[in-house]
């Protein structure tokens, strides 16, 4: 009896890891180029070049979801902060100053989101959706529609060692994981996400917690934006377009939920990896490009349906135990 319970619990908790492993095995089995014991090139490419970006995008979305929110301004943040970073580098000639300015822009956008939501009570969807247009508009105004390129020092900082992107994503991920699962602050954040009113009555400053959650998202967005500029070699005021949807897709696939306090940092890791492996694997298998978006939509629906089934299983647990 005890054994059976453990297997089920493992299946529930590890369902997405199993999906990830399954995808990996299927793609490896059906192609020569995806992965082989003597062929790590593609896996290296996935981990070093693709996954860090998706994982950070997903993480930037997951943290607001913990406090029952959403951040639809991620793409504007990515465009604006990275462009201002590039502008600063060109104007001042100092990479560090550029990075700090970029991060400051991201934090500021997150702060405004947080204040609009936690202080003035705007629904997160409305507040961040509006901020998205404001941010995108600002990026276009500042850039006068043009791109910037150059900034070799900045690019070398990220590209001279190929593990930099993964390392950065890893550090941010571990920091977020530690902060939200191992500290009193994390527990407070979850209680705000669970029930903001109850949290406030028990003495938690839910306004502060929410603002910090959006600032964390802003910080991660800015970091991701700058990583993209380093990778692509150009700052484009429309760089982030379409990224919000990618972020939501990765988080949902990873098992996060729009109902507050249901999401975990690990959802971003798993979701990001699944999306990247899916996109990459479909190319290796030779699925035509037009079908790849279709497949991704299908996987999101499957992931959410699986979520529902797992919840049902979970609520059925006590009965099993009683027997």
């Amino acid at each position: 009896m005890a054994d059976r319970f453990d297997v089920r619990s493992f299946l529930i908790k590890g369902a997405r890891v199993i999906v990830l492993i399954l995808l990996f095995v299927v793609f490896s089995a059906f192609t020569d180029s995806f992965f082989g014991l003597n062929n790590w090139t593609n896996v290296g490419n996935i981990l070093l070049q693709e996954a860090p970006f998706y994982i950070l995008l997903a993480l930037g979305m997951t943290i607001p979801m913990i406090v029952g929110g959403i951040d639809l301004s991620i793409e504007a943040n990515i465009s604006l902060s990275s462009f201002i970073c590039a502008m600063t580098i060109q104007a001042v000639g100092n990479t560090g100053a550029g990075i700090l300015t970029g991060l400051a822009v991201g934090l500021l956008m997150g702060f405004i989101n947080g204040v609009l939501i936690a202080r003035t009570g705007l629904p997160p969807f409305v507040a961040t959706y509006s901020m998205n247009w404001i941010g995108k508009g600002s990026a276009l105004v500042i850039s006068k529609g043009g791109q910037l390129n150059g900034f070799e020092n900045f690019r070398n900082l990220f590209n001279s060692w190929e593990g930099t992107y993964l390392l950065m994503a890893g550090i941010i991920l571990v920091m977020a994981w530690f902060l939200y699962t191992k500290t009193a602050f994390g527990r407070e954040t979850y209680s705000v996400g669970c029930n903001a009113v109850a949290a406030r009555i028990s003495g938690i400053n839910s306004t502060k917690i929410k603002i910090l959650a959006y600032m964390a998202s802003g910080f991660i967005g800015a970091m991701t934006g700058m990583m993209y500029v380093a990778k692509l070699g150009a700052a484009d005021p429309t760089l982030g377009n379409g990224f919000t949807i990618k972020a939501i897709a990765a988080t949902l696939i990873g098992g996060a939920s729009f109902r507050g306090a249901k999401s975990r940092v690990s959802n971003a890791l798993i979701g990001g990896l699944i999306v990247v492996i899916l996109n990459n694997g479909l190319i290796h298998i030779g699925v035509p490009g037009v079908w790849q978006d279709f497949a991704q939509g299908l996987i999101i629906i499957a992931a959410v349906l699986m979520e529902r089934m797992l919840e049902k299983l979970q609520t059925a647990e006590p009965k099993v135990r009683l027997q």
Partner: protein
């Protein structure tokens, strides 16, 4: 909780292990010398041996009469940031100064957004211009907006991307032949590289007529050369980021690639980054369409092999000529074709001067 922790540690260990395994030297920046030039064709695009001959390319008549003076011309473009369209916008403004007319640039904040383009036209109809110069992002999808302009009785000069919905009308269409562009790019590239090889096409955006026709032209050109095999035709969505990601994956899939055809400049630059990073610049030649200063630089350093410029400026200039004729009540041809220009290692230094300001 313990399991979560273990899961994470395991994941971290896996990633660390994999990181260690794929220790590839960072892309060396040593560029190959561009191969010896075949022929210095600067101004004359090869457009002779195309299978289906289309309507003859003509140039709108140069008239001395200025019918545009004091008029308001609304110019709808595909993007506000893509360098190609920035160049088009700049040329439109120059033309405005030349003819002494007011030029209003309309461009979606999200590049290639059909919805936004429709909205922009609908909004502009509140204080309508005398003529529209329209570049639709979606040849069919733009129809509702064109219908509204037709209803208002305002003439349209359709530039670059053809409006294909037959229920609506426009006065004339100005573009380079997109089919020719794709066909000529590949024919020239093959002529320069040699008789056989393996190629990849990075397709722009499904549904956009320019990319669809360029693709047909390119595919036909490949078919004419039995020694060439198209390994893959993947979508780069017209952006640097998507093209780079797709190319990174394709580079791991195919150990042998001789040529990549990127259907626009932005995608070519993304492709180049991916190739540089994989250290395969020597092996793979990138052929592109469009030109700007960044592309010229890439041709100079050898990372882009060649490009055909379909001259945003040339199309816009011709668009205004046609507009002048339309507003003067002259009879216009249904289609006018503008020229395309080869830019490669031979003439890039000269060509790049265009972008110096």
């Amino acid at each position: 909780m313990k399991k979560k922790v273990w899961g994470l540690i395991l994941a971290a260990a896996m990633t660390a292990a994999l990181m260690g395994c794929s220790s590839k030297a960072p892309a060396e920046t040593e560029m190959p010398e561009a191969e010896a030039p075949v022929e210095p064709t600067t101004e004359a695009p090869a457009e002779a041996e195309k299978p289906e001959a289309e309507a003859p390319a003509q140039t709108p008549a140069d008239t001395d009469v200025n019918n545009l003076e004091g008029k308001k011309i609304a110019v709808l473009l595909k993007s506000y940031t893509d360098m190609f369209w920035v160049e088009a916008a700049n040329e439109a403004k120059l033309q405005g100064e030349k003819y002494g007319c007011e030029v209003e640039i309309l461009a979606p904040t999200v590049s290639n957004s059909n919805e936004e383009q429709i909205q922009l036209i609908e909004n502009s109809l509140v204080s309508p211009p005398d003529l529209y110069v329209i570049v639709p992002a979606d040849s069919e999808g733009i129809a509702p907006a064109i219908q509204a302009v037709n209803d208002a009785g305002i003439p349209i000069v359709n530039v670059n991307t053809k409006i294909t919905d037959e229920s609506v009308t426009y006065d004339t269409y100005v573009s380079c032949s997109q089919y020719d562009l794709g066909y000529t790019t590949i024919s020239t590239a093959i002529e320069k590289i040699g008789g056989e090889g393996k190629a990849i096409i990075i397709f722009g955006k499904p549904g956009a007529q320019t990319f669809v026709e360029r693709n047909e032209g390119a595919e036909d050109a490949f078919k004419e050369h039995a020694g060439w095999e198209v390994l893959a035709n993947e979508i780069g969505k017209g952006t640097r980021n998507d093209a780079m990601t797709v190319m990174q994956t394709l580079l791991t899939k195919y150990p042998e690639i001789d040529m990549v055809y990127a259907q626009n400049g932005e995608m070519a630059l993304g492709v180049v980054e991916a190739i540089k990073q994989a250290g395969r610049t020597d092996e793979i030649k990138v052929a592109a369409d469009n030109c700007n200063s960044e592309i010229c630089q890439a041709i100079e350093d050898g990372s882009i092999y060649m490009t055909y410029d379909d001259g945003a400026w040339a199309q816009m200039e011709m668009g205004f000529k046609a507009a002048n004729m339309v507003l003067g009540g002259e009879t216009v041809e249904k289609t006018y074709y503008s020229d395309i220009y080869l830019v490669d290692a031979d003439n890039v230094t000269e060509y790049a001067k265009r972008y110096e300001e």
